[in-house]
């Protein structure tokens, strides 16, 4: 932590604490009359439990359908859910909940304690993640991907004579397990202490590419991550103030930090038979934070300060594993990398009067990369020494100021205006400084309790310091290029919202938005982006017996960019038009007897992306990227008696896609890349679930 950060924190924290104490005021509590004996109050005691047991049948195998749920195979699955809760005489309440115990996506949660005194929680979640059902590869799995002994190298995939005979199917997936335990303790009146421990473990495999200059192979590589995180915080609250300080520490470890593979191609240079990748290095992060807020009459001031660091010091792998290349000396054996981060936010919100309110926010965000710069001799993909490069530890400072003012006019009309100034200062980038100024205004009108209309417009401009080409010892960028997040940009946004509730049972809402970005000074790179968004939904709830909803949403995005294949002025343009539309509707109905409940949900979402490229020849139009998901979920729950319920659920989901980057690309389709035939197949899956719920008699 920098001295400046310490001193900033040291200065701020006592100020907040002092304000907390200074403005505290005791509040008088009315005395509860003695005869308020709460005879009709149904205070629970003993324990209550409920279990769902049953079976589900899935009609087809699909990794895409089964990702996150574990329903990836055709066949039967067990349904096992349950809850148990117990109220003890001394006020403690404990509960256990299990969900999807019969699936790979199971979760178990314990929650308990004495309300107002302490709370203990523990939760375990398993989340399967299936990327591809089965890729095809000749490589053996493990941290060293070897080819079969009869492998015949060639200069292109067409020459891999033994590829077909050696292809085997490998699923690309990993299982994620998350464990969280935590305790919250109200140590004293107005003093809260909480502590949490979280573990996130992922194990399985991933798909990565290993290249030798112009040839490459996609490979199944191991994935074995564990992230542990601890958080401890102490909070103090008074009627007019609140204050919290906390510490968060996180450690990431990767049990497979390197990965080697055998070169399936005929090596370009002697010795380039194997390549090695450095995968995610172990790292650790910590953060101290302090937040506080104070109320002064009708105003609130809140300040939040966080200071942290990220460190990484994994040993470097050798610059190459090519035995034909002389050993390359490294300037050091590990990175000893460290990034300090600081963030300070101050918010002020004031209801100056019943009509006038203002808010303002000041932010400062800093990433200070203390990693040393050194020159590293570069071995081009384990083939040959090609020079040296300097590492470029990236720093930035960001400061943002934002203010809103809102005034309530007669006739239930409200006007809000605001402004924001966002400044960035970056090192080692083509543009050192950018600043963006945004102005906006909004009008909000309410009529007859049932109608609300608002319109908002905003306009922003991003400008900055001179743009220059960086020379870091590798290929230079075209000087006409402007990276889109650094480039001058003019952005205008207009949006309207309308909500209408003609009667209590019906509400409808409409949102329409248009946003236009212009990068008019970017000769190369992104030139323009236009977005149009629309959402509409209506809900109908005549009584507690039934309700229904319908929703429609559409997003359109048009992007235009220019490139140069001759390292000169722009000589090609690309236009991408994307759209997504989604419709959903559903209803819930309960029989007057309360014995039967029926539910229906239907959803259809379709996305399409079309790209055209103009190179001087007639416009060339790609096929579409296209995804379509349709789903229906129908369920009925019948209460046989207070102890027994039965639920039948039918679910149908259909997924269709067209992806010309992946579809039909076989392992040897691309001469210079050994691929794995990894594409996401279409599916249509029916799933039927029958489950019974048993609720034992309440144990008093």
């Amino acid at each position: 932590m920098s001295t400046a950060a310490f001193s900033a924190m040291a200065r701020t924290a006592p100020c907040i604490a002092a304000l907390v104490l200074a403005v505290d005021a005791a509040s008088a509590q009315p005395v509860v009359p003695e005869d308020w004996d709460c005879r009709f109050c149904a205070f629970p005691s003993g324990s209550v439990a409920s279990f769902w047991l049953g079976s589900a049948f899935v009609s087809d195998a699909s990794g895409k359908f089964g990702t996150y749920t574990g329903l990836d195979d055709e066949g039967f699955y067990a349904v096992a859910d349950g809850t148990w809760r117990r109220w003890l005489d001394d006020g403690q309440v404990w509960s256990v909940r299990v969900d999807d115990l019969g699936l790979k996506s199971r979760s178990i949660a314990l929650d308990g304690g004495r309300p107002g005194s302490y709370r203990v929680r523990a939760q375990y979640d398993a989340i399967p993640n299936i990327r591809y059902d089965g890729i095809r590869t000749p490589f053996a799995s493990g941290t060293r991907a070897l080819l079969p002994s009869d492998w015949v190298t060639a200069s292109s995939t067409a020459g891999f004579a033994t590829l077909a005979a050696n292809e085997r199917s490998v699923a690309i997936s990993h299982d994620r397990e998350q464990l969280m335990t935590g305790i919250e303790w109200r140590a004293r009146e107005s003093l809260d202490i909480r502590a949490e421990f979280r573990r996130d473990a992922r194990s399985g495999n991933q798909l990565i590419a290993g290249s030798f200059a112009a040839v490459s192979a996609w490979l199944p590589a191991p994935l074995d991550y564990v992230t542990d995180e601890v958080e401890v915080a102490v909070g103090h609250d008074r009627p007019n103030a609140a204050f919290e300080v906390g510490y968060r520490g996180s450690r990431f470890s990767n049990d497979a930090p390197t990965f080697e593979w055998q070169n399936p191609f005929t090596p370009f240079t002697a010795g380039a038979d194997f390549g090695r990748l450095a995968l995610a290095p172990d790292n650790r992060a910590r953060q101290l934070y302090a937040t506080g807020s104070v109320r002064f009459g009708r105003s609130h001031v809140a300040a939040q300060l966080s200071e942290g660091s990220i460190e990484q010091d994994d040993p470097f792998v050798a610059a190459t594993i090519n035995p034909a290349i002389d050993a390359v000396a490294l300037p050091r054996q590990s990175l000893n990398g460290r990034v300090d981060t600081q963030r300070l936010t101050v918010d002020v919100a004031s209801r100056v009067s019943s009509r006038f309110r203002v808010s303002a926010r000041v932010e400062r965000d800093e990433r200070d990369n203390k990693t040393q710069v050194a020159s590293f001799t570069r071995v081009l993909t384990d083939l040959a020494v090609v020079g040296a490069s300097l590492n470029a530890p990236y720093d930035f400072e960001r400061s943002r100021v934002r203010a809103d003012a809102s005034y309530r006019l007669p006739r239930r009309m409200q006007v809000t205006v605001g402004a924001e100034r966002d400044r960035w200062e970056r090192n080692l980038q083509a543009r050192q400084r950018t600043r963006e100024t945004e102005l906006w205004a909004e009008v909000d009108v309410r009529r007859w309790e049932s109608l609300r209309f608002s319109a908002r417009v905003s306009d922003s401009q991003r400008r900055g310091s001179d743009y220059s080409v960086l020379d870091r010892g590798s290929a230079l960028q075209n000087p006409r290029l402007r990276q889109y997040h650094l480039a001058d940009r003019d952005r205008s946004v207009a949006a309207i919202d309308l909500s209408y509730a003609p009667v209590r049972a019906v509400t409808a809402a409409l949102h329409v938005e248009s946003a236009n970005d212009r990068y008019s000074r970017s000769e190369l790179g992104l030139n323009a982006g236009d977005a149009r968004r629309l959402t509409f939904d209506v809900a109908f709830a005549p009584d507690t017996r039934w309700n229904a909803y319908a929703a429609f949403a559409r997003d359109d995005l048009d992007l235009r960019q220019t490139g140069s294949q001759q390292f000169g002025p722009g000589d090609w343009r690309a236009e991408t038009d994307e759209s997504t539309k989604s419709q959903s509707f559903g209803a819930v109905w309960r029989a007057p007897s309360e014995r039967l409940e029926l539910q229906l949900d239907v959803n259809a979402t379709e996305s399409r992306s079309q790209t055209s490229v103009l190179t001087g020849n007639p416009q060339a139009l790609f096929p579409d990227f296209h995804t379509k998901i349709r789903g229906v979920n129908v369920s009925g729950t019948y209460t046989v008696n207070p102890r027994l319920r039965v639920r039948v659920t039918y679910r149908y989901e259909r997924y269709a896609n067209a992806d010309w980057q992946l579809d039909g690309i076989d392992t040897a389709t691309i001469p210079s890349i050994l691929t794995v035939g990894a594409w996401i197949p279409k599916y249509a899956v029916d799933m039927l679930t029958v489950a019974f719920s048993y609720t034992p008699a309440r144990d008093q």
Binding site: P33, W36, R39, F43, P44, Y68, G91, V93, S105, D125, I127, A209, S211, S216, Y225, D237, F243, L277, A280, N283, G292, S293, Q304, I310, Q312, R343, D347, R367, T371, R378, V379, D382, N391, Y394, S474, L476, R480, Q483, H485, R504, L524, G525, T544, Y549, G563, Q565, F567, T576, Q599, D601, T605, S607, V613, L621, T627, N633, L662, G664, I670, I673
Partner: protein, 318 residues
């Protein structure tokens, strides 16, 4: 996957329609009011005479929750019972003649006649630490999205605190995010494995977009710590802001990318010796098989796009 058990807005409306007492409540069993203190004569027993299991909006489930505990000295039922939150109810409990309206009482929810500020003050009397110091300056608070816009009290469980049900509550207003959650590539929200509040702090935060942590990247690194680095060779946009390339709520492109490579990469890269070659239809089957266009495009070689710790990885190929 598409289950949306009960539209929370619809259910909330139904509940509020019942609880926003405006004269339709039956006045049976009501006792004379304690006009001196303003509180009802028998506390919760007065209220439950009407708002019992047979009421259109039953409230007895509150006793299954922490709000219904007598053992929490800060809880409503260790204090003024229903009137701890709803305020003095003597006038409201008074008998009315046919056709007359019941006197109003403090009610909760976006359609309540009680000002949001007053509703929230009642909640924050006990829940100041739960709301956190940033609440009053938060976007929700500034826009009158009060506690009861999202939270429900008279139910066995508060939907917005349940991982599986929370998104439906948020989507009532954040409709675009609902659409995005149904796209082909998403975080596992619609699979009930993740809640909005794992990334967002609805009570306000120091971060942008009401993020739970100080910045976009801090929030992403909470689950994707392998991308945290610092790396020997950094990809500066990845170190600065994950959302420059990724979109969090849903995408039609794998890895939640904003756009496909190579066009996404070519918005920032056009290098000497590695020119910005256009990917055209002539480069894909049946006309061609360009590695720039197909499969991973730029990632066919530059696989370490989040940064590399390999001494020879300056171009992110190792």
């Amino acid at each position: 996957m598409f289950t949306r058990p009960v539209t929370s807005r619809a259910a909330g409306l139904a509940l509020l329609a019942m609880l926003s007492i405006d004269g339709i409540t039956l006045a049976l069993g009501q006792a004379p009011a304690d006009t001196e203190s303003g509180y009802s004569p028998r506390g919760a027993d007065t209220c439950l005479a009407c708002h019992d299991t047979g009421a259109d909006a039953p409230v007895l489930a509150i006793f299954e929750t922490a709000h219904g505990s007598r053992d929490d000295p800060r809880g409503p039922f260790a204090q003024l019972q229903c009137e701890s939150c709803h305020g003095p109810g003597a006038a409201h409990a008074q008998r009315v003649r046919r056709g007359e309206s019941q006197a109003p009482i403090r009610t909760f929810g976006p359609q309540s006649g009680t000002p949001t500020e007053e509703q929230d003050a009642a909640c924050l009397d006990c829940h100041a630490s739960d709301a956190g110091p940033a609440w009053h300056a938060s976007t929700h608070a500034f826009n009158d999205v009060g506690c009861a816009s999202c939270h429900t009290v008279h139910t066995t469980s508060d939907a917005v605190l349940e991982r599986a049900q929370q998104p439906a509550v948020c989507y009532d207003c954040h409709q675009r995010q609902r659409m995005q959650s149904t796209m082909a590539f998403t975080h596992p929200i619609r699979y009930e494995q993740m809640a909005c509040s794992q990334c967002h702090a609805p009570h306000g935060s120091a971060g942008e977009y009401a993020l739970a942590r100080a910045s976009v990247n801090d929030t992403c690194f909470a689950c994707h710590a392998e991308k945290r680095g610092p790396f020997l060779w950094e990809h500066a946009p990845a170190s600065e802001d994950c959302s420059l390339c990724h979109t969090a709520h849903g995408s039609m492109h794998p890895a939640l990318l904003r756009q496909r490579p190579p066009l996404l990469c070519q918005q920032c890269h056009s290098q000497a010796g590695h020119p910005s070659v256009p990917s055209t239809p002539a480069t894909i089957p049946p006309f061609g098989t360009s590695p720039l266009s197909l499969v991973g495009s730029c990632l066919n070689c530059h696989i370490s796009v989040h940064g590399s710790n390999h001494p020879s990885g300056s171009t992110l190929t190792r």
